[in-house]
Symmetry: C2
């Protein structure tokens, strides 16, 4: 009766989760298309065929990774704090949350940001990402319409620059350097909202 189907002590080895997290690491190092199943096998310490015991294939591995990134963004968009209040405050909240998601799910979001649309899996992910971008774009326009953003720059340009900055974090952020998600978000918001110059 005790622990009938529970996960007891496994005799060391992989599971779908460990395969995914290691695979995503390699995808980010070499690029998805630049990564062979042989590369993954080497990183996992097993042979190629062992991978297929845990996951259906390379593209499904990518799909699961992209979903992790996109699910985070979807949850944020659905949050009440993204829907009510002054647009500029919602924008600030969304920027801060975006940075948090990017940092928390760094490898998954990094992968998402590099997707080009070379397969159905990638195209589906790009489509979900475009929905997020449209949400942001709308939010910036609202903030501009409410007079909270300087009127001498096109809101569309503001959107791209602001979230270009957020997304660029994926290119350099390393948790080992000590800066937390909030540290980065604070610096980003200071720069973008009130400016760097003294």
């Amino acid at each position: 009766m005790a622990t009938p189907t529970t996960t007891r002590q496994r005799r060391r080895g992989h599971d779908p989760e460990s395969v995914l997290s290691i695979a995503v690491g390699v995808f980010n190092e070499r690029g998805y298309d630049g990564t062979s199943m042989e590369d993954l096998a080497r990183a996992l310490g097993v042979t190629k065929s062992a991978i297929y015991y845990h996951v259906p294939g390379k593209e499904q591995l990518l799909g699961r990774a992209l979903d992790r990134a996109l699910d985070g963004l979807s949850e944020m968009v659905a949050d009440e704090r993204a829907a009510s209040g002054p647009a500029i405050e919602r924008l600030e909240w969304v920027v801060r949350q975006s940075v948090r998601i990017l940092v928390d799910r760094l490898p998954y979001v990094t992968l998402l940001l590099r997707v080009r649309g070379n397969s159905r899996t990638e195209q589906v992910a790009l489509e979900r990402r475009r929905e997020f971008d449209a949400f942001i774009s709308h939010l910036v326009k609202e903030a501009a319409a409410e007079g909270s953003i300087r009127p001498d720059v096109d809101p569309a340009l503001v959107t791209r620059l602001l979230f270009g900055t957020v997304n660029s974090i994926a290119d350099w952020y390393q948790p080992s350097r000590g800066a937390s998600s909030d540290d980065v978000a604070d610096a980003l918001l200071k720069m973008a909202f009130t400016g760097l110059r003294v």
Copy 2:
């Protein structure tokens, strides 16, 4: 005596230059590793083997493209305007020039920004790019030391955010949308230097 070795009217076809520019376009659409020589051949309207009449191979095509981007950045760093005057003004000039180079050589710089280091060619390019990054990093530190940048953000973080923003332009800029290099640089400098909020 007239036009002995000059380029006269070619009977339409490709040359190394046209192959390069079309190839770089495809590389940016699908990613370098995601692009096959067959893909390039299709885009060029010839067979795979015809490509090898004009260029030595796929990797050399990449190398030439990356050099175009890096040469632009090297020229800028060597310019006198990057060396003398208040650091904050040099920084502003370098940001503006970086945007100009990125826009002028958009496909080449875009390619450079996506290089992961999967081959010797890519590693050499990454090394040159790191030199540029070090130059920028030093410049920001100077501006901070001169008291021109708000002291409550780490200069290293400022460097990454500022040039993360510049580099992110490659992800969305389309000349057909009408914005010039200076338009983008103006908006970027307004945001980063004096802030978006009214």
